[in-house]
Structure formats: C-alpha cells, structure tokens
C-alpha cells in the first residue's frame, strides 16, 4: 500500500482542499484498507485504495457544514517542489496559481476525474473503477471539466489571484 500513499494524499488533498483534513482522510483510508484486506480480490491495489480514499473524502465533504470548505487560508501551501526551479518566473508562477485555483473551483465530481487523469495518469477504465461509474461518464466528466477550465482560464484577467 505504501507506494500509493502519494496518490492517496494527492487525491484527498485535491478533494478536501486542506492539508490537515487530507492527512486524516488518508490515515482513515489506510486503516480501512488494512482492515478490509480480506475483501481484496486481487487486481489493482492503487485503484482499490483510491476508491476508499475517494469515498471517505466525498463523505467528509457531504458532512461538512457548507462554507467551511472555503477556507482559503489553509490553501496557500504548495506541493513539495523536487525540481530545482527556484528561477521559475513570476509570470509562470501566477499562471500556475490560476490553473490551481480554476481546478479547485470545479465541482468535486469533475475535479476528481481530472486529477486522476492529469496527475495520476490513470486510464478511463481505472478511473471508472475508482469512481464506480461507467467509462462513458468518465469521458463526459473529463470533457465538461476541461471545457470549464478553458472558459475559466480564458475569462480571467492576466493578474493572478
């Protein structure tokens, strides 16, 4: 399971949008995964773990009082940058922030589909297995998500938020 910790954390972090809750969800998910190990019928361990993470995160979002989600203060942390990109230009930085913000504003169903495709590089079939939806739904959610992003990124003024 440990090789999939990064993917689990990344998905949880994108869904719940703060570090603290994402860590709790990953911890609970690993607990659940170990506990339910006997139900694991082979196949892809990453898909199996991410399906658990995804359910936990979605339940968490449903239970959370509306409004709490928009705590932008916690949101400023950047992912650990392994590449030596200290010289990254300001323009690039702000474009990156805009992309991040635009993805954050997508409805969770679109956001998770996009994250699994673009960051985890999963196939439609794997994404469908994580989300427990038909492949056609994966395809249409990705199309909607990308259209929304294109519109959002085009409509924003050049200044990053």
């Amino acid at each position: 399971m440990w090789p999939h910790l990064r993917a689990a954390y990344n998905l949880a972090r994108w869904l719940v949008r703060n570090d603290h809750d994402a860590e709790d969800i990953v911890q609970e998910s690993f607990g659940k995964a170990f506990q339910a190990m006997h139900q694991f019928r082979g196949g892809d361990a990453r898909v199996w773990l991410l399906a658990i993470v995804r359910n936990m995160a979605m339940n968490f979002l449903r239970q959370r009082r509306p409004g709490r989600e928009m705590q932008w203060g916690e949101h400023a942390s950047e992912p650990a940058d392994t590449a030596p990109t200290a010289e990254r230009s300001l323009i690039q930085q702000s474009r990156r922030d805009r992309i991040r913000t635009a993805i954050d504003q997508l409805p969770p169903e679109f956001r998770e589909t996009l994250i699994l495709r673009e960051i985890e590089e999963m196939s439609y079939k794997e994404i469908a297995a994580v989300l427990k939806v038909p492949i056609g739904t994966v395809m249409s959610r990705l199309a909607r998500a990308r259209n929304l992003l294109v519109r959002e990124l085009a409509s924003e003024a050049g200044v990053g938020r």
Partner: protein
C-alpha cells in the same frame, strides 16, 4: 463524421483512449474541419499547461510514520492489533517478493539502447540527475562549454509543458554525451546528445523494458530522448524540440 459526432470524442482522442477505427475517423475529420482543429488545439494546450504546472500535492514525511504508528501492534488499541499484524507482515513480504522479481527481470537489448537506458536509470537511482540544476537555458547551455567538444542546445519548452531541470555530463558506451534533463509531471526525460549525426531525417521510436526512446539527428548531432513517459507525449517532446 460531423462536428457533433466528433466533439465528444476529442477528449478521448487526446487521452489515447479511442480504438483504431475511431481514431482514424477523428483524424480524417480534423484534417478538414477548422473548428474542431481549433478545439483540439485548445485541449492540447490545456493539457500541456496542466502538465507544466506541477500540480501534485506531496504528503509530508511524517504522514507515513503517523499511519504506521497508528496501525502497528505496539501502539494500536489492543483489540485492533490482531487485524493489522498479519496484513502488515503480508504486505511487507509481498513488497520484498515484488522487488526480488523486478530487479533481475531486466532483459538484454541492443547495446546502444541498453546503455542509454542504463544511463537514464542510473541518473534516477543515484540521485545524480543533474550537474547543473537550472530551469534557465542561458545557464544550462554555457555550462557545457569546454566540457564537451560540441555545443548541445538546451531549449526552453515550458510553454509546451516540458520543464527544463538542468544538465549533466555522461559517458555512454564510451562516448561523451550531454544529458539535458526535462520533467513532465512526475516523469523525468533524459535527452542524450552525442556528437556526429546521421543522414536519417525522421524520428525513430523504440520501447525497451517499458521505457520509451525517441531518436533523431540534426545539425551534426544525434539525439536520444528516454523516459517512462508514454510514447505519444515523448514523441511530442521530440517534435517540439526539433521545431525550436
């Protein structure tokens, strides 16, 4: 195929998820439909921008420790301990078996490809990816001067979604090579540049042990890009590099 039929398939085509007949149909439609070409171009640019934006959130090092501590017999509630111990041990055993299986599984291939791939893998394992870490091509390119007998180009392909990471000197198969290193998402691309080109004009693509290699020659230099990135995106990298 009409635009109404093509539009929903553009995403699947971009993601390499279409079967061969549908791909051919889309390609035919794209060849003579300006509107769908534009739409497809927009999707490609978005994908490249997302790749370049490096959007992964990394867990802190304490998270793994915390989870292990919570689910190890010593510190877990006594009732629960019985559940974890066997599964953790089983997981550790499975991991050990997996490593044992993976390491000797490396097959032999043609020497040149093998040596280039070995060099790529060494650079990832030895934590010696670059001698000169920089995302600025004006730093990377001059660094090679005096260290190689030729002047390897280091291009800025950020806008195409390939981030320059730096450069490194290599000896591959007894020949000095400049390695220019790029990243796309989590994937490292080592671009090996050798002195001496051939007359071959096109790109040639190979797969060795699940890694992709793309070769070409230009301006008296030969190039070989190697990565665990998928074949289509590595080819796009090579095409962008050649175009600039």
């Amino acid at each position: 195929m009409t635009c109404i039929e093509a539009e929903p398939l553009l995403n699947a085509y971009l993601d390499g998820e279409l079967d061969a007949p549908s791909s051919v149909n889309i390609e035919r439609h794209l060849a003579d439909c300006r509107a769908c070409q534009a739409q497809y171009g927009t999707l490609e640019r978005l994908r490249d921008e997302i790749a370049a934006a490096d959007l992964r959130y990394e867990p802190g090092p304490e998270l793994e420790r915390r989870i292990k501590a919570a689910f190890t017999p010593a510190s877990a509630p006594r009732r629960r301990a019985a559940w974890w111990a066997p599964s953790l041990a089983a997981a550790a055993m499975a991991a050990a078996v997996l490593i044992a299986l993976i390491v000797p599984a490396r097959m032999s291939g043609p020497t040149a490809e093998r040596e280039i791939l070995d060099s790529h893998l060494r650079s990832l394992m030895a934590n010696h990816l670059v001698d000169v870490p920089s995302s600025d091509r004006h730093t990377v390119k001059p660094w090679f001067q005096g260290k190689t007998s030729f002047s390897p180009p280091a291009l800025d392909l950020t806008a195409q979604g390939f981030n320059l990471v730096g450069g490194r000197l290599e000896i591959v198969g007894g020949r000095p090579a400049a390695a220019v290193v790029y990243k796309r998402r989590d994937h490292v691309i080592n671009l090996f540049i050798f002195e001496g080109g051939g007359s071959a004009a096109g790109l040639s693509q190979q797969e060795v042990d699940g890694y992709h290699l793309v070769r070409w020659t230009a301006g008296g230099l030969s190039y070989c890009a190697v990565s665990d990135l998928n074949a289509a995106e590595l080819r796009a990298f090579a095409e962008e590099f050649r175009r600039h």
